[in-house]
């Protein structure tokens, strides 16, 4: 696929590095920006010296081959395939699982510091309006209150291209109910809560709109008085800038390849359909929050974040601090899903309060605020696909409208653009501003929405062509990994027994369906680490990279373990602290692919140093030594070996250490990850309940380092995908602009009883791009595909196409024509 597509993803922000924005100051370019598309292997006269190596290449099911690459001389020799390794590729239990299970893991919400104050965020009670006055006197007088900070600038919203279009005001304009206004620090959470009620805000209310369709009307209240743009975050999200804007409609971002009109003219069949998806909120178990301890010589920030670096950068930018005076710590993280980069409003408020009070301040959002602060935008998509009788695609056209509230980033074109081969493509994506909380990156931004529509439309095409949906995909998808994955589904599931749509006579109807995902290989060069080996034989790894619950610590322990030949449990992993070498922000599924090569290289270099230091004492040369099974072995004399500890005991200093940073990709190629998910379900056509009974997922992510961790990510993605497809939806009161279900009982999330049988097959895909060949899995893991796969299985069960999610009893019964006054969808059985 052409390189522009990579660039386009960058612009859409579906890649790490675009900056979350905390202030108007010009974002400092981050290294990742430049390096996502890795430069070609340096020619002989530039870059570090290289040597040529032969790497294992391809997919085992298709027969592995080898690939010659030029690699920097200080990198370790290529890894063998997983089957021939000791720890890499072997299922390994989560490194910090016991600590989490026993409640010993300290999350940001658990941090307690001496003299710490508790802060509460006060937010707007109108969806649109000018603040006339804020009276904080009563709150300030309440005993136990230490400071009240009134917000000067709100982060996360789009900003007017021409700020002069709005009359300047002392306070930020309120554009959504729940927009932060002030923070209060007090000696107890109760006092902070009580004080919050004493803050008197006088508003001059303005007309508002919270519904996407209503907001598109020519006479709809304007969320912004003129064109406005939003920046993305390090996890993606954020829409295009500088596109046309009429009223609340921002866009289109228009992309064309080939000649779509000619493509449709050449088509034998054309499908045209519309799909709708809802707003999903992130609902991480740990809400957004910070503990900031502002000291004159260093500001320490405990952050529930996906990017310690992003928090440090924001702190430095917003407060004009040298980065050397900001320390960010994230030891345990209770979920982010894309919504936790940078300091956000809550971090900025906590920092201001800490500075004002000279005390550490903890500010965790409450659950209502958590639901409002970020979301996955909704969508209304119109799709048109043309094909030849044999399935060959001739043209794709997509128009989508979505609301990211006061932000942008509702584009959905990823799947339609990148899943299949099609010479003629036109996509037009619009953002629709509404007076609701801003959208943010959310696990595979744009893709679950896009896939729900596109992968069902592909199934509609299969129906029209009377082709098996998997056979059609075999025809139009050139990706080798996906082909193997589809084959696994055919062989390992009930697919061959698939019946015609709507075969069951009774009220309970069963069906099966598939859908596939695509995600992109992004790499962050902000990936450094240090490996230390002590004289007592202990091995330690340090990096600022954080583990947001995905198993990063375990994965890194495995990589070091493989190099030293010691069990992963013996490697001490210290991460999530910016005092260590810089780590990548975890967005865009970059972490594994970015940091593991640095870690392996550092471990290898530390090992080389060790050998060099001790070889003379052992009467040999460093290159005669190697490490395996916890012992140092002599290549030329199998009878001689020492324990690691015996060898490190000979070190001349207490410690040796090596530091390494991610180098560029070995070759410049556009690579994708993805998976194919199969769903079996039962639709109760009299209750509108959809029961997902079985999911089989076949997924690829380069070389899996810890299959247990990878499968755990896919399980989580599948569950989140089912939850998105069937239950979750933000419900706004159109008359007042308030979110009605900003809690966890009416914002419905899948629970234990909704968990189906899940089986995962990992497809190894050796790409010869780095010293580990690892890749991310977070985003291509089920969250993208499940709604579409469920939709396709629903059609197979009932003969009815679900064109909107969530598939609640209300929506399902309506589609089935079981609701008085609602016509239902056409039955095609």
């Amino acid at each position: 696929m052409p390189l522009e597509i990579i660039t386009q993803e960058q612009e859409q922000g579906a890649q790490p590095g675009a900056k979350k924005v905390p202030n108007a100051a010009k974002p400092e370019p981050q290294a990742v920006h430049q390096d996502v598309a890795a430069p070609p292997v340096a020619s002989k006269d530039s870059g570090p010296p290289k040597r040529s190596e032969s790497f294992v290449f391809g997919i085992p099911q298709n027969g592995l081959t080898s690939k010659q690459r030029e690699v920097p001389v200080d990198e370790p020799p290529p890894l063998a395939r997983n089957a021939d390794l000791r720890y890499i590729g072997k299922p390994t239990a989560r490194y910090d699982g016991p600590a989490k299970a026993m409640g010993k893991g300290k999350y940001t919400a658990d941090v307690q510091l001496p003299g710490m104050l508790y802060a509460r965020m006060v937010d707007a009670s109108v969806p649109h309006g000018r603040i006339v006055s804020i009276d904080t006197a009563a709150a300030e007088k309440l005993p136990g209150v230490r400071a009240v900070y009134v917000v000067q600038h709100t982060y996360g919203l789009a900003e007017l291209r021409d700020p002069k279009q709005e009359t300047p005001s002392r306070y930020p304009l309120i554009r959504y109910a729940g927009q932060p206004i002030a923070g209060i620090a007090a000696v107890s959470p109760q006092i902070a809560d009580d004080a919050a009620k004493l803050i008197k805000v006088q508003y001059d209310p303005m007309p508002f709109v919270v519904d996407r369709t209503e907001a598109r009307a020519a006479d709809a209240p304007a969320v912004f008085p003129g064109p406005a743009d939003a920046a993305g975050s390090a996890g993606g999200g954020g829409g295009p800038k500088g596109v046309p804007q009429v009223g609340n409609v921002h866009g289109p971002q228009r992309k064309q390849t080939g000649d779509p009109a000619a493509g449709f003219a050449a088509a034998d069949v054309v499908v045209e359909s519309e799909y709708f998806t809802q707003v999903q909120t992130h609902s991480a178990l740990e809400t957004h929050g910070f503990v900031v301890d502002w000291k004159p010589d260093e500001v320490t920030v405990y952050a529930s974040t996906q990017g310690t670096s992003s928090v440090r950068n924001d702190m430095a930018d917003v407060f004009k601090l040298p980065k050397s005076q900001v320390r960010v710590i994230t030891e345990f993280m209770g979920g982010g899903f894309g919504a936790k980069f940078g300091i956000g409003n809550e971090g900025a408020v906590a920092a201001n309060l800490s500075r004002m009070t000279n005390a550490p301040v903890k500010l965790m959002l409450d659950r209502r605020q958590e639901h409002i602060v970020s979301n996955r935008p909704d969508s209304h998509q119109k799709l048109k696909i043309g094909a030849k009788r044999d399935g060959t695609l001739t043209a794709i056209e997509l128009t989508s409208y979505g609301t990211a509230g006061v932000g942008t980033g509702a584009g959905t074109a990823g799947p339609a653009t990148n899943l299949y081969t099609c010479p003629n493509l036109l996509t037009e994506e619009y953002d629709v501003f509404t007076n609701a909380g801003p959208g943010a990156a959310f696990r595979a931004p744009g893709h679950p929405q896009g896939c729900f529509a596109f992968e069902q439309a592909i199934d509609e095409l299969a129906v029209k062509l009377a082709m098996d949906p998997i056979a059609l995909r075999d025809k139009i998808d050139e990706n080798q990994a996906r082909r193997v994955e589809r084959q696994l589904i055919v062989e390992r599931t009930n697919w061959r027994n698939r019946r015609p749509a709507g075969s069951d006579a009774g009220p309970i109807k069963r069906g099966m369906g598939v859908a596939q995902s695509v995600w992109y290989r992004f790499v962050s060069m902000n990936s450094s680490c240090e490996v230390r080996v002590s004289r007592d034989g202990s091995v330690e790894l340090m990096s600022a990279v954080q583990d947001l619950g995905t198993g990063t610590k375990t994965m890194l322990a495995i990589v070091v373990a493989e190099e030293f030949g010691i069990p992963p449990g013996q490697v001490v992993i210290r991460i999530g602290d910016t005092r260590f070498p810089v780590g990548p922000d975890s967005g865009g599924s970059v972490t594994a692919g970015s940091i593991t090569p640095a870690v392996r290289n550092a471990a290898y270099q530390a090992k080389q140093q060790l050998f060099a230091a001790v070889a003379p004492q052992l009467g040999t040369t460093p290159d005669n030594l190697h490490l395996a099974e916890g012992r140092v072995l002599f290549k030329n004399d199998p009878s001689r070996s020492y324990t690691l500890k015996q060898i490190t005991g000979k070190l001349p200093t207490d410690e040796i250490s090596a530091r390494a940073t991610r180098g560029p990709e070995y070759a410049k190629e556009k690579l994708t990850y993805g998976g194919v998910d199969y769903v079996e379900l039962a639709v109760d056509t009299e209750t509108g309940r959809v029961h997902v009974e079985k999911v089989f997922g076949a997924h690829d992510c380069g070389r899996p380092i810890n299959p247990t961790g990878v499968i755990s990510q896919i399980n989580g993605g599948i569950l989140q995908g089912i939850s998105y497809a069937l239950f979750e939806q933000r419900i706004m009161d159109r008359k007042t602009g308030y979110m009605l279900n900003a809690n966890l009982d009416n914002y419905k999330i899948l629970g234990a009883r909704e968990v189906p049988e899940i089986e995962i097959e990992l497809v190894e895909n050796y790409i010869a791009q780095s010293s580990t060949d690892a890749a991310g899995i977070g985003e291509s893991a089920g969250i993208i595909t499940l709604a579409a796969a469920i939709g396709n299985a629903f059609f197979n069960a009932t003969g009815v196409r679900m064109r909107s999610i969530p598939m609640t009893p209300a929506n399902v019964l309506a589609a089935l024509g079981k609701v008085p006054g609602q016509p239902g969808q056409e039955v095609q059985a």
Binding site: D684, E686, T687, H691, R734, Y738, L740, N746, A810, Q822
Partner: protein, 334 residues
């Protein structure tokens, strides 16, 4: 949450002595604390009755079942006599809420919990039920997918008590005690519909405490069942629930009582459905006819028309479950 005084009582008399005008009874505390945390109620004084041992216990006697109001939903659901002779009640207690909630929730608190309506349960909205000045029911013109489909003209709230459904179907009685003495109220007169009072949902007066719930022994041939339907199985509020008591002679139904939970603002008898079943042989067609009849009086709002279909399913499947002609429905939650 507001600041409040807290008193812990060991006996009913102690409790009554504490029940002044500013006092609120706290049993399991599940609903009460939620309402306090959300700022919907701000009681100055909580009277904890969880340690009043005389209010515990389930006694099965020939004339019926006496249940102390502090019995938890779990205790009721696993009681062998309840399971055997009062199946709908053990179904309801065992399928309400979540295991964790059922271990804390008491029967008294369950039937006394406040209704569900997101406009009522949010301080963002001023509604008459909370003593507010807004003349309109916000649900009428607003987001009403979870609201009542019957008798919803004044207020479209729903009362989610699962146990109230079989208690009403079984003609249970509630014993109320105050300083003035005891009185007994039948379940059919226990709830107050919004057109009678918007503020109170029950006849329980300030100073009164539920001291017992009595369920008369079923007639021979009685079979009963309860099922609850929602958007998901775990941790969800009912969108439709039905309790059915059938007095059977073989497959012939001598008498039927059908109660609907969240159809109207308070639990209601579906007399039209009962009329269809009474005197008939129970089969799927009769059960469906009864279900249809029950929804004839429905007046759905803009977004809750689907609930009329859901109720028909709940009714017909629960009638067949009670009659022993169908398995427990996998689509019923909890």
């Amino acid at each position: 949450m507001n600041k409040f005084a807290y008193v812990d009582c060991k006996t009913v008399d102690e409790t009554l002595a504490q029940l002044g005008p500013d006092a609120t009874i706290k049993a399991g505390g599940i609903d009460l604390l939620d309402l306090m945390k959300d700022g919907i109620v701000a009681p100055p004084k909580l009277v904890n009755i969880r340690n009043v041992s005389s209010l515990r216990g389930i006694t099965a006697a020939p004339d019926g079942l006496r249940i102390g109001p502090l019995s938890t939903l779990t205790e009721i659901s696993v009681h062998p006599e309840v399971q055997l002779r009062y199946a709908a009640l053990s179904d309801a207690a065992g399928h309400a809420a979540t295991p964790q909630v059922r271990n804390m929730a008491t029967l008294g608190g369950n039937i006394m919990q406040r209704p569900r309506c997101w406009y009522f349960r949010s301080t963002d909205f001023d509604c008459k039920k909370k003593g507010g000045t807004s003349q309109d029911c916000h649900a009428h013109e607003g987001e009403n997918q979870y609201h009542a489909v019957i008798n919803n003209g004044t207020c479209a709230m729903v009362h989610p008590s699962s146990t109230a459904v079989p208690l009403l179907a079984m003609n249970a009685e509630v014993e109320l005690t105050s300083k003035r003495g005891k009185r007994t109220v039948p379940m059919s007169g226990f709830y107050v519909p919004p057109e009678k009072s918007l503020i109170n949902e029950t006849v329980v007066q300030p100073g009164e405490i539920i001291t017992s719930i009595f369920v008369p022994a079923p007639e021979p041939g009685t079979r009963s069942a309860y099922q609850k339907y929602g958007e998901k199985e775990s941790f969800d509020w009912p969108l439709a629930d039905a309790g059915v008591v059938l007095v059977m002679a073989g497959q012939h139904c001598r008498q039927a009582r059908v109660v609907l939970g969240v159809a109207a603002p308070t639990p209601m008898r579906a007399t039209a459905a009962e009329a269809v079943l009474t005197g008939k042989t129970i089969d799927e067609a009769t059960a469906r006819a009864a279900a249809k009849a029950a929804m004839q009086e429905a007046t759905p709002l803009s977004q809750n028309g689907y609930k009329t279909q859901l109720f028909q399913t709940a009714i017909y499947r629960t009638v067949l479950l009670a009659a022993g002609q169908m398995q427990r429905d996998p689509s019923a939650i909890g």
